[in-house]
């Protein structure tokens, strides 16, 4: 499947280096390593530095992960401690 051969683009929106956002980044990385090894790119966006980005990305909750690619766009909020939900939310299982 061509879709899975592409690089996944994941955006993690955080505000400052709070324990919660650090946990989210860790949880995200762990899941991606498991399911998308070498096929993903995580970009961390600190809204404290770029607050203007929040509106366009429709960010409400922090932390928020947005799967920009592959489409469709999917959004997961929380510190991603619930791995099962993260996998379902990002639709990682298919890509295995």
């Amino acid at each position: 499947m061509t879709r899975h051969s592409k690089i996944w683009q994941l955006l993690l929106y955080v505000i400052d280096q709070t324990p919660r956002s650090q946990a989210a980044l860790l949880n995200l990385k762990r899941a991606c390593e498991t399911h998308l090894k070498g096929r993903y790119r995580i970009k961390v966006i600190d809204l404290e530095k770029h607050p203007q980005l929040a509106k366009g990305a429709q960010i409400l909750a922090i932390p928020t992960v947005v799967r920009r690619l592959p489409s469709p766009v999917r959004t997961i909020i929380g510190n991603l401690s619930d791995t099962e939900r993260l996998i379902v939310g990002l639709d990682l299982r298919v890509s295995r």
Binding site: I15, N79, D82
Partner: protein, 586 residues
């Protein structure tokens, strides 16, 4: 908390207000919403929450130089702009001029997965960024409850909302938060729990097929506010609340008097007519000439060069013009000159508030000095008596504040309840004229009283009110033992009085003549007596002379006969020569 804003119209220095610019709402709340605090506006679907919030923001940006942020959770920017554009608000233009920021928070529950703990810091950042980007003083959150649908973790949500409202306070912006009305509580999700400073409830109910919007300030911490329900309406210029009780009685009244166009009526009103800016009630049973009196007052105003606005709820303008023409009152030139304007509408066309708003608009547009509402009773069918009274109060207050003289005609049914039924309204009026008709002798005749005229020495007499093709006039009615006499009975009475007067005049003349005659007779008698007397006196003198002559003759004769008889010389000398003397002068 830091208080900002130069336009704070506060009465209480402790609690500054943030004027909404919404007609009437600022009056109820004593100057506006609590500045720097969140206000909750709740109500059912379609009751005008979003509109109220939008108006608060637009007025802030346009009139009070307070930019605002509109954060919408339900409508997109484009939808919102289109919706309020119909009320004349140019949101897009304000956004372009950096007066308003629109932020549509799109929440699609199906697109969001939750995994673990989170907070709503993203919302805070967005809001904060929007506020800082234009230096906003006002924000609107419409409606936060969409969050409850979008996010599953209610515990987090509630904690975050609590934090949000605290944050709004520390930010020092005046916020309006809208919420859907709940079944058991004010809002569906109990938002009132978090917003404790000011709560406004909007309601939209239908009574007798006429929909009325109501607004009530449920809570306003630290301030006196009108707690009543106030009708409000959404017109084509936005929301206007119609507060009644909040209006103060502090109109400055004029001493100027204006004529009514009927000289005798002016005379009844202390000689100079009504006070300018007073409210006049004309009550009467059908066909007593209320409209005619009102039209006369209006045309008199126009002839002074003033403007008169005639609200008619029963007749069309052309019908009034035609009817008035028949009594010699030509209104058409006045209409053409732009001095007289008619506004005709069926009372059932729309609700009471809408009527009132329309009238306000017409009045503001035409700027009349005299307003006629004919008849105000027609409007009474559009609402409950208390609502109608409130409406009339509102209208009277509005017009008095503008020094506009107002004539309300009021149709009453016949009978003695006439004055009773109008008592509630009459207390609002400065002057009250009562038109009535009397039936008797097979005819109906109109009479007019001045029941009350505040501040002037008015006539307490009943006048007969005559309508002819030359106009109207008032004449004295007769009041006798048999009651008030009008019409032909009055004419008969007049004739009777004339006859009585004439008779007494004739009697006096007759007596005078008789007396003259008597004097003549008397004088004649006196003259007769005098001539009798004179005759007698003359006679007496003649007798005297005769007696004297005879004595001389006698003595002469006696002397002669004595000589003949050789008698003593001394005896009766003069008696003897009588025959001699008889033939000659003594």
């Amino acid at each position: 908390m830091k208080q900002k804003g130069p336009n704070s119209t506060s009465r209480n220095p402790c609690l500054p207000r943030c004027p909404t610019g919404i007609q009437g709402l600022d009056e109820i709340t004593g100057g506006g919403l609590p500045r720097g605090r969140p206000t909750l506006v709740c109500g059912g679907a379609g009751c005008g929450k979003t509109l109220l919030a939008a108006e608060f923001l637009v007025h802030g940006a346009v009139e009070f130089d307070e930019p605002g942020v509109f954060m919408s959770f339900e409508e997109s920017e484009a939808e919102l702009t289109a919706n309020v554009a119909s009320l004349g608000f140019d949101l897009a233009g304000l956004v372009k001029r950096k007066k308003i920021v629109l932020d549509y928070v799109h929440i699609e529950p199906s697109e969001i997965q939750e995994s673990g703990e989170y907070d709503l810091e993203g919302l805070f950042v967005r809001l904060n960024h929007a506020i800082d980007s234009i230096g906003a003083k006002r924000i609107v959150l419409d409606t936060l409850e969409a969050l409850f649908a979008g996010l599953r973790n209610e515990a987090i949500l509630r904690a975050e909302l609590r934090r949000l409202f605290r944050w709004i306070k520390t930010k020092g912006v005046t916020a309006v938060i809208t919420a859907e009305r709940g079944r058991e509580q004010l809002t569906r999700n109990g938002l009132e729990e978090y917003v404790s400073d000011c709560v406004i409830l909007l309601d939209h109910r239908v009574v007798d097929q006429i929909a009325t919007r109501k607004l009530r300030v449920i809570k306003y911490r630290g301030a006196l506010h009108g707690t009543n329900e106030f009708p409000f309406l959404i017109g084509n210029t936005g929301i206007s609340v119609l507060p009644i009780t909040s209006l103060g009685l502090n109109h400055k009244m004029s001493n100027e008097r204006i004529g009514t166009g009927v000289p005798r009526l002016d005379a009844m009103l202390g000689g100079r007519g009504f006070f300018r800016g007073s409210s006049v009630l004309l009550t009467g049973t059908p066909g007593t000439g209320k409209t005619i009196v009102a039209a006369n007052i209006a045309s008199a105003a126009c002839k002074r060069g003033e403007r008169a606005l005639f609200f008619s709820f029963e007749e069309s303008p052309s019908q009034i013009i035609r009817n008035m023409h028949s009594i010699g009152l030509d209104l058409e030139p006045l209409v053409k000159q732009g001095l007289l304007r008619f506004h005709s509408a069926r009372p059932s066309l729309y609700g009471l508030e809408m009527h009132l708003a329309t009238m306000f608009k017409e009045i503001a547009l035409f700027q009349p000095q005299v307003v006629v509402v004919d008849p105000v009773t027609s409007l009474m069918d559009s609402g409950t008596p208390s609502e109608c009274r409130a409406m009339v109060t509102r209208l009277v207050d509005y017009l008095k504040a503008g020094h506009v003289t107002t004539i309300f005609t009021s149709l009453t049914q016949g009978g003695h309840a006439l004055q009773q039924s109008e008592a509630s309204m009459s207390s609002l009026m400065d002057s009250w004229l009562l038109l009535q008709d009397f039936e008797g002798n097979g005819e109906r005749n109109r009479v007019l009283y001045v029941l009350k005229a505040r501040g002037m020495a008015h006539s307490n007499q009943v006048r007969e009110f005559l309508i002819s093709k030359n106009g109207v006039d008032l004449v004295d009615a007769y009041i006798g033992a048999s009651g008030v006499l009008t019409g032909s009975a009055r004419a008969a009475q007049e004739a009777l009085e004339k006859a009585t007067t004439l008779a007494s005049l004739q009697e006096a003349a007759r007596r005078k003549r008789e007396l003259g005659r008597k004097r003549e007779v008397l004088e004649r008698q006196i003259n007769g007596l005098r001539s009798d007397y004179e005759t007698e006196a003359l006679e007496l003198r003649r007798i005297d002379q005769q007696v004297g002559t005879r004595t001389i003759v006698l003595s002469t004769e006696m002397a002669a006969s004595g000589r003949l008889r050789q008698a003593d010389a001394k005896i009766n000398v003069g008696m003897g020569d009588k025959p001699k003397i008889l033939n000659g002068r003594p």
